[in-house]
Amino acid sequence: MGKQGGDSTRLIDEQGLRLDGRKLDDLRPIKIEVGNLKNADGSAYIQFGKNKIMAAVYGPKEVHPKHSALPDRSVLRCRYHMSPFSTEERKNPAPSRREIEISKVIREALEPSLILEDYPRTAIDVFVEVLQSDGGSRCAGITAASVALADAGINMRDLVSACAAGKVAGQVVLDVDDTEDKEGQADLPIAIMPSTNQVTLLQLDGQLNNEEFNRAFDWALSGCKKVYQLQREALIGRYFGKNERPMEIEA
């Protein structure tokens, strides 16, 4: 996350358009596909701007090591990982401190939506693999992971939809991309359960005054709701769409 200053004025032009031509409150193009990984119990692939992220769910399944099982609920485990080729400079494949933190907040963002009590003594593994990163990979990862959990048929209260707002060249913007993230002044990723407006992830890097914070929060919430519509459409397309493969019935 950049500091104030630098050559940040060019991030937004005189017409109020951003580097990639978006207006202040536009999302990047988003595409969600459901169920492309055959081995996984549930999977989803998302393109969110230049982000290309695969999410897979395995479970509910037996827990290893056994002592980590819980008698009254399932254990949700989550791994967010960036492929070495996903960034400008090669990323060391070993999990970084950043990835460990993001794995934790993604797990905590998804957990409120799941009815884990329905699967005692089991584990549910969620893998989020960033194949190409742009700004906002944690939000895109959560969005894909929630769709993958639905695809896996895990009982849930709601989907989890995520989106960030931020501050770039002194202005509040929706959905911060890579350049804006590095050269901008603030990034506020949030995730919500859209039906109840419950916030399940919130992080903030960078300075926002009271008014900016309120506007960024508000915009991020509306961004999440747009993402939610795309998640729904992707799931409906997968299971009810005309040109889609019929649902596979397990033996």
Partner: protein
Amino acid sequence: MSAVKKIFVVEQLRRTQMSELLSRGIRLDGRGFSDARELSIETNVIEKAEGSARVKLGNTELIAGVKANLGTPFPDTPDKGLLVVSAEVLPLASPYAEPGPPDESTIELARVVDRGVRESGMIDVSKLVLVAGKHVYAVFVDVSILNVDGNLFDATSYAVVASLLTAKIPKYILDEKGLPVKTDEMVPLPIQTVPVSMTMARIGDHLLLDPTTEEEALMEARITFVSDDRGNICAGQKGMPGSLTTDMVLQAASTARLKGEETRLLIKRAVSNA
């Protein structure tokens, strides 16, 4: 097996008792919902460190130490010094703490505290440069947690901030060959603001500032906001596998700003007495 059951029953009893008390506006230790525990800060407690602070927040106790030397900048920020915050929950700090590499909670703790200090611009890292692209000051703040009784996020942040405010680091100069040499002169860090972290726990419909271990055991979600001395929010983090309403988020942000101001005065007073 019986041990598991017993803990479960006790936890249920505590939860019932606490939610009953909270519905009457009472916390177990008698504090109001937006009251922090007593904060004491002692600075320069470790002579060999360039700066240090021992912080007690209720029964949570820890020490932060600053060490500084000359290093090479990151390739993408050649004109900025380095600032690195890390934390360790020592095995002597709690019956549940174990030796070993930091777990995800400790990594999160260090990263959130680091984020608050970094994003507030507390230290003007552009002034920590000797030769851009080659030699910059590297400032390390390490926190050793000595006793855990809840709210490590805020206590750690206060210790890091107090130790940086009082730190004096060795000044380096360039010799005639252009090589850096350490001098005997000790200089304070280029401070721009005093960030203050405020963490709240959500239990049921209530937000409790500065939760104890007992309250943390029952919290559904945790939210931290860091404010600077102009009233900007400069870092935030929601934690724990529960959710918050949007109103709670806004309430937490405003509490962080208001209560942060009180704590900022306490920190400034503590370091000026040093």
